[in-house]
Structures are given as structure tokens and as C-alpha cells.
């Protein structure tokens, strides 16, 4: 500030303030506890970015708010003094300083953001080159599955075949493979459909359709996301990833779950009156449990009718959803509608 030299007697005080601000900022950056559990490989990347931003923001916040509060106390008008203050109209070096510092900070943050986005897989939005390569082959298998005889054929090879299920159109948007995995197809591919007011998960190799998302831990999962009616937004808060489900346009999210457990799936885009009730769950299994789940649901029904793995009433894990179960529930009619 212009008068810092007069009001701050020595560099010692400035140094002390700087140290205190630095300590508080670092502490708050590390310990703000604002973000939920980290369940994906992307989550620590995003959280580290937030930690850096929270640290810088805390420091700037303390300095600016401190200067405001200090000014209000120290430079408050007192008594009968009706004269004006010292007419300081500017300080060119200082103005350059506080233009340059934020400029450096935001350029740094910009570069860091691009790097994080790259690590998250943001630049791979074609679904991986392998997918495109096997396109014609997978169509063959897909047609097999449609026949009655397909069920016995799937067996152990279920997951591998699911990989072959290339999406009808290549997703252009969303989060794809991380740079390390860019040449590998995802290990599990699931088609996600958003509709008022539910998410449907279709396991293309297994002819299973579920209202909850089951995935194996530690496996590279790709979701091909689309919407039937209006825009929805597929959000996994614990995975720090989100992608709008757009009618008529395919998008994707690719992730590897790092823990087993059950976590919320949230619709984040206003999609109508019961938008708030459009929630589901992602259930992350150990790989062998996941296989068991697949087998169980494959065997559970005949091959003509796709499986509804979850009763719609079970979707609502709390009672508050009960009044809306009718509106949002999945029934056979809805399923029939959306099945290709």
C-alpha cells in the first residue's frame, strides 16, 4: 500500500504478517475438508488443484480483507477533523505489481488446469482408437446377443465382449482415457440413458439393464451417456466427474474406481419437477463379486426380456422418495420404450 512504510514500522512486522498468512493459508488449503471422499483416479488430481487454489485464495483473502478491516479501524474519521486526507492519486510501481502478480497466478493456474484436465483424460474424447478399429466386429457379436442362442455364448467372456460393444456413434464430449491408457480400450463399457426422472444402465454384452450402476473396482470403466427426453447431467460427486447427458448427442465418462462401496449418482441439470429426486447409486464391487452380479442377473431372466436388476421401489434409499416413486419409477413400459 502507498503508506505502508509509515504505518508498518519495520520489515519485521511485514515478515511476521507474511509468515502468519502463509501458515494459515497452507493449513486451510490442506485441511478445509470441503470435498467428499475420493473414489476415482481423477479425484486426487482435482482435489490437488483445489488445494492449490484454496491456498492462494486464502492468502489473498486474508491480505485484502485484512487491509480493509485495518483501514476501517486505523483510518476511521474521528472527532471534528473536517479536512481531507493526503491526496495520494496512485502509485505506478504498486499498480504494476498488483496487475502482474495476479496475471502470473492465473497463467500458472491455467497451465496447471490444462495439465490436470489432460491427466483426467479430458483430451481423449473419441473413446480410444481401439474402439473404432473393432467397430465392424462388434456389430456381429451384438447381433448374436439379440438371438435366443446368445445367452450360453456369453459366459466367462462377458466382459471382453462388452468391450467390443462400440457405441453407435463415437462420443465427442466428456472425459476419456488418461494419457497412459489412451491406446487401451476400456475394460467395461456401459451405456447410460437419462430420462425423466431416472438413470438406466445397460450392459450391452450381457443384456442387462439396471437402475443402479454396478462396476468392478480397479477396472477401467467407460460410460456412454445419452438422454432420451431433456438434458440431464451425470454426476458422481465422489469421483469428481460430471457430464451432461444430451438428447441426440453421445458423451462419455471414463474412470477407474479405487474403492468398493456405494456412492450417489446425481442428476445435476434441471430436468423437470422431480429433478431433485433423480438420483441413483453406483455400487463398486470386487471384480469377482461383480462377475457374480453379472451372472446372477443374466441368468435371472429369459433372453427375450431385458433384466430389470433393481426394483424401482428399491431405488429410493430413503423414505422421502416414496411419494414420487410412481412418477420416477422404472416399469416394464418405460424399459420397452427405450430398448433399441
Amino acid at each position: 500500500m502507498a503508506k505502508e512504510k509509515e504505518t508498518v514500522p519495520g520489515s519485521l512486522i511485514a515478515l511476521t504478517i507474511g509468515l502468519v498468512v502463509a501458515v494459515i493459508s497452507f493449513w486451510y488449503g490442506q485441511n478445509n475438508n470441503l470435498l467428499p471422499e475420493q473414489i476415482s483416479e481423477q479425484a486426487p488430481l482435482v482435489d490437488d488443484l483445489f488445494t492449490v487454489m484454496a491456498t492462494i485464495a486464502t492468502a489473498l483473502f486474508l491480505i485484502v480483507e485484512g487491509a480493509i478491516v485495518y483501514s476501517l479501524i486505523r483510518f476511521r474519521h474521528r472527532g471534528e477533523d473536517e479536512t481531507d486526507s493526503e491526496p495520494v492519486k496512485g502509485n505506478f510501481p504498486l499498480e504494476i505489481f498488483w496487475t502482474a502478480i495476479p496475471a502470473f497466478i492465473v497463467i500458472g493456474l491455467g497451465i496447471y488446469s490444462v495439465e490436470v484436465y489432460n491427466q483426467m483424460g479430458g483430451f481423449d474424447t473419441s473413446g480410444g482408437p481401439q474402439m473404432a478399429h473393432h467397430q465392424h466386429h462388434s456389430v456381429e457379436i451384438a447381433s448374436l446377443i439379440d438371438r435366443d442362442v446368445s445367452a450360453p455364448l456369453i459366459g466367462q467372456a462377458g466382459i471382453e465382449e462388452a468391450i467390443e460393444q462400440a457405441p453407435k456413434t463415437r462420443p465427442d464430449y466428456g472425459i476419456g482415457a488418461s494419457p497412459q491408457d489412451v491406446n487401451n480400450p476400456a475394460e467395461v463399457v456401459i451405456n447410460v440413458t437419462g430420462l425423466q426422472y431416472a438413470w438406466l444402465f445397460n450392459y450391452p454384452g450381457d443384456n442387462i439393464t439396471s437402475g443402479e450402476l454396478h462396476v468392478p473396482a480397479g477396472k477401467d470403466v467407460q460410460l456412454n451417456i445419452e438422454a432420451k427426453d431433456v438434458i440431464h447431467s451425470f454426476w458422481l460427486p465422489q469421483f469428481r466427474i460430471k457430464q451432461d447427458a444430451l438428447p441426440g448427442q453421445m458423451s462419455q465418462l471414463r474412470f477407474t474406481a479405487t474403492h468398493t462401496g456405494t456412492y450417489p449418482i446425481v442428476c445435476a441439470e434441471l430436468c423437470g419437477a422431480y429433478h431433485g429426486a433423480m438420483r441413483s447409486q453406483i455400487i463398486i464391487h470386487e471384480p469377482n463379486e461383480y462377475e457374480a452380479w453379472l451372472t446372477e442377473n443374466r441368468v435371472a431372466t429369459g433372453t427375450d426380456q431385458p433384466t430389470v436388476a433393481v426394483n424401482p421401489q428399491d431405488l429410493s434409499d430413503s423414505d422421502y422418495l416414496e411419494p414420487y416413486a410412481k412418477e420416477m419409477g422404472i416399469n416394464a413400459d418405460v424399459l420397452a420404450q427405450i430398448q433399441p
Partner: protein, 561 residues
């Protein structure tokens, strides 16, 4: 500027075409005086602030519990859509630009009126028409697809309400375009001859940036909404995926306007800040040129950041990255302004009047909103918090903590000028305290809610978020109560307040050099600049004049009394 002169306008000469002063009923009809229009805008928009505020209280009451138990979910969506729409298009934009812009710009540059007084009156009267259309929309259940009106939701939800909503916004937009042309011509052509560019009050600089932005961006919104209207009513398929339409194109059209709209709502407020802080801190504005040019920088860069509202939508990676960088760059000119105001406070002789308290409150809250804005600008983090309460918290810090605090500061600061009466200071301070506490209590916890997993625009939510939501609701009740001392203060002071002198704040800008309230044509003689707008504490001794500013002001005072 050799001779220091103060225009004395106590004698109204009989040659004028209009009455000597406006009577109350003149304010309720077509009138081309920019001051009448300014007050019309302010009172009109304030009514909508109250209506939209009551809507917010209902929304918060609904969110007190996780269940959807107070309002029908469709009504909830109507309220959330119209709360946003009205706060933006019927309160902040008309109050800041139409209200204070109209009232202050001609006075500040020493003009008798705006360049096109009739166009000005027409611009205002488009707003009541728009309000009527909005009323019709609400009668039919109102728009329910959010203020963003994204198709396909807006195409399939309550078509009648949505259509009238679009018509209403198109009228407001037209008013905004006409107003912008008027401001630009007025400021470029009608400045008093002795006023150089760098002697112009910063509020006028802000109005240049605001008007340029409105002129560039509003037509794009009008196009987007008109196409939407055609899709709803005339069978076109611009935004109908099943007919080959592209819904993401709508989002581009919408945000190309609506992101600059954020700056439409904050740039005039930035102008107000410079006036209020400098005057009440009795100190020249720190870095006049930096503040003036940073408004223009925000205006230019602000046209190229709109995709940061669409990071999770159908946007390719390069776009997400490009707009991350451009968004972050806006922080630099905004930071320059913040630092300059803090530096203006530093070393001043700060009067803790109501306008200054609100201006400092703005500064305190805007710093927070700006910092959370930087975090939102980075695509990787935004992907997590987009469309969550984090965003709701952020934009209320900049639009409530920023724009609304600024409007309150302006109302208190220019109340004596507009009404000729002083407001009640203790009531003003109570109002500030309640507003500041209420705003932080309502909007701070929202950041945590969003990061933890609560999306926005929902009537029913996961019970784990109940605690913080209750805190927000209690905060909103404090905000609701905070309006009471303000209303009492305004109504009582306007009718029965102490008579205001022409320049109670001893301010140096031109509007204070005429009577309170100003005569119908503002200045009876061409006003002459005898000091820069922020030359507080500057010894203004002229070469052939020994008088200082203080002595001049004393002369003015004695002349008025």
C-alpha cells in the same frame, strides 16, 4: 478553469416549457426528464426486487427440509425460474443501468438531459409492458425451466408460460439496447465542453463499458429466444434434436449474452463504488486510469468467456481449455479494481456512513466471490461443482454481495440528491448489519453444500445436507427482515426526513453542485469544472485564486442556506 465558479440555479427562469418542479403525479406517466425516468426505473425495479425476494424466501422455506413438502414441485420450479429472471431483468439491470445510469450520467457530465429524451422514456415504458407479459406468463403457471430456459426442457414444459416469458425478456432486451445507444451518444456528445476524458467521473466510464457490452450481446440473446419461441409455437426445430436441431447451439447463443449480462450487472456497480468510496474516504480515487481502463478490459475479455457455463455440456476439450484461460484472465482487471479501492480506503479519513458501509461490505464480499469465481473458471474443478450449490453460493456473492450491496450504497449516497431529504443514519447502519450477516449466513454454507454433492435447482435433496440448508434458510430470514429498516427509512425519510443541502457529502462531482433535488434542466448555467471529480485533499489553489476547495464549499454552503 481560470475562474472558480459555481453555477447558482436558485432562480428558475420562466422561459422553460415545463412546470417549475415535477409533482408526484408526473412520476406516474410518460416523462422525458432523465431524472424522472431514473426514479421511475428505481421504484419500478425495487418492487420486483421485493417480489423476487419473497419468491426466494419460499424457495428457502421449501429447502428447510429435505422433503418436497411446502410447495408443489412445479410451483417450486416456477419460483426458482422467476426469482432469477426478475432479479436480473427486473431489478439489477433496470436499477443499476436504467435507474442510476439515467439519473446520474447527464448530471455528472453537466448535460441538461440524455441525448434522446423520448427514446429514453420509451425504453422505460417497455419495462412495464414486459412486466405485464411476465404477469400473464405467471398467470398461466409461469416459465419452469430455469432462467436459462435450456431446450428441450423449455420446449416441453408449460408452453404458454414459457412463451410469454420469452416475449417479456425480448421487451426488456429491446429496452436495454435502446438505453445503451442513448448512453453512448450522451457521454460522447454531451459532456460539458470543459470536461476532458480523464476528468469524467468513473461511473460514466463504467456506463460506456456497460452500454457497449449491452449493444454487442443483447441482440444475440434476442435471436436465441426468438428461435426458441418459434420452436415452441410454430413447429420449427432449431433446438429439437428429433428434427435435427442442436440444443448446444442454444446454449452458446444464450451464454454469449448472459455471461456479459453478469458484467452488465456489475460494471455500473463498480462505477458507483468509485464514487462512494472516494467521497466518503475523503481521498482521491487510487489509480483513476487503471480503474477506467480495467472496465473496458473487462468489457472486451468478458465477451470471450461464455463457454465456462458449458464446461460439462457438449463442448470439446479445446473449447474447455480455451475458455478456462480466457476466464482466468478476467480476474486480472477485476483484481486491479479491488486493489485500487482498498488503496483508496488506505490512509483516508473514512466516514462510516451507510453508503460507505455498503460499499465496503461489497468489497469484502466481492473479494470472496471473485476468488471462488477463479476456482470455477478452471474446467477440471468446475466439472465437479458445475450446476451445484457451489455455483449458487458464488454468484450470490457477486450478485447479491456485489450488485445489491452496490445498489444499496448508491441509494443511500444519492438519496439526498434525488429526494432533497436526508435518510436516517442509524437505521441505515442497522440495515447494513442485518444484510451483511444475513447474506453471509445464507450464501457461505452453499459452497460446502455444492462441493459435498448437492446439485442446484432441486426441491428435494439428500437428508445428509439438511443441517447446512437450515442454516441457509435462517440466513435468508435475516435477509428478509433486513428489508424492514430499509423500507421504514426510505418511506419516512422521503416524506418527512430532514431537508438535504445541495452537497451533504462535500462531493466534487457535478451532480452535487446543483440543488437537491436538481432543477428540471439540471443546471441553469453551463456548469464549470473547478476540480477533478476526485480531487479530495488536493490544494485546488488556482494561479489567480487563493481560495481552496474547502473555502469554496463553505461559500456554497452559505449560499444555499
Amino acid at each position: 478553469m481560470a475562474q472558480a465558479q459555481i453555477p447558482i440555479d436558485s432562480q428558475i427562469n420562466g422561459a422553460h416549457q415545463h412546470p417549475e418542479a415535477w409533482s408526484w403525479y408526473h412520476y406516474f406517466w410518460y416523462n422525458t426528464d432523465h431524472k424522472v425516468i431514473g426514479i421511475q426505473y428505481l421504484v419500478f425495479s425495487f418492487i420486483f426486487y421485493l417480489i423476487a425476494g419473497v419468491m426466494a424466501l419460499f424457495l428457502r422455506a421449501e429447502l428447510y427440509t429435505p422433503d418436497s413438502d411446502l410447495l408443489d414441485p412445479n410451483v417450486y420450479n416456477t419460483l426458482l425460474t422467476n426469482h432469477g429472471t426478475m432479479m436480473i431483468f427486473f431489478w439489477i439491470v433496470p436499477a443499476a443501468i436504467g435507474g442510476f445510469g439515467n439519473y446520474l450520467v447527464p448530471l455528472m457530465i453537466g448535460a441538461k438531459d440524455m441525448a434522446f429524451p423520448n427514446l429514453n422514456a420509451i425504453s422505460f415504458w417497455l419495462n412495464p409492458v414486459a412486466a405485464l407479459l411476465m404477469g400473464v406468463s405467471l398467470y398461466f403457471g409461469g416459465a419452469q425451466s430455469g432462467w436459462t430456459a435450456y431446450p428441450p426442457l423449455s420446449l416441453i414444459t408449460n408452453n404458454l408460460g414459457q412463451s410469454f416469458w420469452i416475449l417479456s425478456i425480448v421487451f426488456v432486451g429491446t429496452s436495454s439496447i435502446l438505453g445503451a445507444i442513448n448512453f453512448l451518444v450522451t457521454i460522447f456528445k454531451m459532456r460539458t465542453p470543459s470536461m476532458k476524458w480523464d476528468e469524467m467521473p468513473l461511473f460514466c466510464w463504467a456506463m460506456i463499458a456497460t452500454s457497449a457490452l449491452a449493444l454487442f450481446s443483447t441482440p444475440v440473446l434476442a435471436i436465441g429466444l426468438t428461435l426458441l419461441l418459434f420452436d415452441i409455437n410454430f413447429g420449427t426445430g432449431f433446438f429439437r434434436p428429433e428434427m435435427g436441431g442442436d440444443i448446444v447451439v442454444y446454449q452458446h447463443l444464450f451464454w454469449f449474452y448472459s455471461h456479459p449480462a453478469v458484467y452488465l450487472m456489475i460494471l455500473p456497480i463498480f462505477g458507483i463504488m468509485s464514487e462512494v468510496i472516494s467521497t466518503h474516504a475523503r481521498k482521491p480515487i487510487f489509480g483513476y486510469k487503471a480503474i477506467a481502463y480495467s472496465s473496458l478490459a473487462i468489457c472486451v475479455v468478458g465477451l470471450f468467456v461464455w463457454v465456462h457455463h458449458m464446461f460439462t455440456s457438449g463442448t470439446p476439450a479445446w473449447m474447455r481449455m480455451f475458455f478456462t484461460i480466457s476466464t482466468l484472465i478476467v480476474a486480472v482487471p477485476t483484481g486491479v479494481k479491488i486493489f485500487s479501492w482498498v488503496a483508496t480506503l488506505w490512509g483516508g479519513k473514512i466516514r462510516l456512513t451507510s453508503p460507505l458501509l455498503f460499499a465496503v461490505g461489497l468489497l469484502a464480499m466481492f473479494v470472496f466471490g471473485g476468488l471462488s469465481g477463479v476456482t470455477l473458471g478452471t474446467a477440471p474443478f468446475d466439472i465437479h461443482v458445475h450446476d451445484t450449490y457451489y455455483v449458487v453460493g458464488h454468484f450470490h456473492y457477486v450478485l447479491f454481495g456485489g450488485s445489491v450491496f452496490g445498489l444499496y450504497a448508491a441509494i443511500y449516497h444519492w438519496f439526498p440528491k434525488m429526494t432533497g431529504r436526508m435518510y436516517n443514519e442509524p437505521l441505515g447502519r442497522v440495515h447494513f448489519l442485518l444484510t451483511f450477516i444475513g447474506a453471509n449466513m445464507t450464501f457461505l454454507p452453499m459452497h460446502q453444500l455444492g462441493m459435498q454433492g448437492m446439485p442446484r435447482r432441486i426441491a428435494m435433496y439428500d437428508p445428509q445436507f439438511a443441517g447446512l440448508n437450515q442454516l441457509c434458510t435462517i440466513g435468508s430470514m435475516i435477509l428478509g427482515v433486513s428489508i424492514i429498516p430499509f423500507l421504514i427509512n426510505m418511506i419516512w425519510s422521503w416524506g418527512w426526513g430532514e431537508q438535504a443541502p445541495r452537497n451533504p457529502w462535500r462531493s466534487l462531482t457535478l451532480e452535487w453542485q446543483t440543488t437537491s433535488p436538481p432543477a428540471i434542466e439540471n443546471f441553469d448555467e453551463e456548469p464549470i469544472l473547478w476540480a477533478g471529480p476526485y480531487d479530495y485533499g488536493v490544494d485546488t489553489q488556482m494561479e489567480d485564486d487563493e481560495e481552496t476547495v474547502e473555502e469554496l464549499l463553505a461559500t456554497v454552503k452559505s449560499e444555499v442556506k
